[in-house]
Symmetry: C2
Subunit: 181 residues, 2 copies
Amino acid sequence: MLGDNPPGADNQQETKESPLDPNWICGFVDGEGCFSVAIHRNPFVRRTRGWQLGAVFQVTQHEGKRGVLERLAGTFGCGAVRSKGPRSSVLVYSVSSLHDLEERIIPFFRAHPLHVKQADFDRFAGVVGAMLRKEHLEPAGFDRIVRVAYEMNAVGKQRSRSLEEVLLGSSETIRQAPFRG
Amino acid sequence: MLGDNPPGADNQQETKESPLDPNWICGFVDGEGCFSVAIHRNPFVRRTRGWQLGAVFQVTQHEGKRGVLERLAGTFGCGAVRSKGPRSSVLVYSVSSLHDLEERIIPFFRAHPLHVKQADFDRFAGVVGAMLRKEHLEPAGFDRIVRVAYEMNAVGKQRSRSLEEVLLGSSETIRQAPFRG
């Protein structure tokens, strides 16, 4: 009784190598994707008060759905699928190479606009451009990028540090941080 | 510096009434959608031991993104966008009319297969077909549908009641339930 509906899955003929439809990718990224600028502590980066920036495009999914993240990686031709942590059942497809972001991810979403995350993408593309011009390595450029980063993803709600902490972090704090290596 | 990238948003010309691309919808539903069969207590339904079934297709989104859910409702031509609760910042687009599911939602996803949630959709379409044939109103059909429902959405992990509780719920339990109205 329940099994008598014809399977609608034309995609059963698809393999892990089949590229995904660009509009499907946009819908999936509008749901599960994230364009963000991570801010890490690195005491060696003295010109920017011990903070280091990293732009990253990510799509998360339960580990049971690894196949779709691998097809995403194959379609974009860059990035990697990894577990979110040693005890996590969540996988993350992520692209953090500035070169791959500039050459593959950003041109794709310029050609295929998003419906939900377009504003975050536009800011992200601006940050990647600025980082490629090395503006994030100087204090003024760093501060501008950090302000943009905090406007992204529901106005930085998920940030563990306040904007003030990052912008005002003194060299005193940096010297106190433990050096490794 | 950060604002000099050309906006990629061709969708700025789109309105709330513009239909969404079918492949974008599939990607978004593969991320944010849910095909499920809710199981409620209703002491008046004695033939199925006081349980009532309801098939529902839902897509959730933060309240700031109401526009995209309204476009989804407009594209499908059915369903409604509501808040998830009085204090919730989450909106839900949902379709629970068996007629709308059979006439609009199911034919759409038969024509445009999903990549992540195809197995759940196939089970859901089977349940809707069975409910349209009123099989859920008889004990044997009800039990078959409940077993399928518990196989959906990561094997019923989010269920508040065990499968045994629903299948073995006695008329004693039903009589003890408070009657309303």
